[in-house]
Amino acid sequence: MRTILNKKLTFWLLLSLPAFLLVLGWWQGRIDSMDMLHPTGEWSARLMIIAMALSPLVSLLGAKPWLNWLVARRRAFGVAAFGYALLHLIFYLIDMGNLDDILAEWMAPGIWTGWAAFGLMLPLALTSNDRSMRWLKAGWKKLQQLVYPAAILTLLHWIWVHNSYAGALVHFVPLGLLVLARFLKKPLSQMKPLGV
């Protein structure tokens, strides 16, 4: 049982469960294309936030078995975040239904930020494999740091498209605090030899 639960495939299936249920609801006509946009976008943001929160958590809490378990699956979180963003985009295209309407609103603050966030997530997802890591060497890590501007664009997209802060901040403030805490912690740990 435990080995099945710990299989990577099990984890992928778990991450795709919300997508499966949403698409099923849409297929059966219970959910409008329009109403697929918010949940797919929210899942994408959540998974992105989890993927990004892991390394600040490790640096703040040290190595913990549960954290290691999650860190071993960080790539899955990141790729799944992209998968949900792709689903989000597909349903946006289905809902809009024609190119004219899409072009007419691309410059709205809530829309171009979404396109830009997706544009940044695309190379991250495409290089989330061992071959790309070997091929890009040190450049891989640099490339993956695009996730920070992607997260900021995602946050702005969420705030602007809804014209409200609540939902977006509930999700992003914890991540912001973790990233901040890691920055604050660095100089403190360097000071440690001076104390005691």
Partner: protein, 104 residues
Amino acid sequence: MRKLIPLAIAAAAIAVLPSAPASATGAIKCKPTPQSSWKTQEVLKAKLVKEGWIVRKSKVDGGCYEVYGTTPEGDRVEAYFHPVTLEKLYVARRGEVLFRKQGY
């Protein structure tokens, strides 16, 4: 001190979470009016279609009628109307406010 930082962060994160309103729906609110004085959503839809709108979905939100659709100008919007007068109160395209009646 080093142990305090993650604790403070965790406490702050927990404090922030419930402070956000659970249901942040409704871009605007209409003063409560008796439902018996409301015109139906069908009447509103017919009026809008006549004016050149494409209505894709409508519902009650914040005591107003909320409509998702396309304006005669071709903008894909979310719009609010007064349920009694059917007056246009608020129009937003993807969160960008295009029109807002004074006082709303």
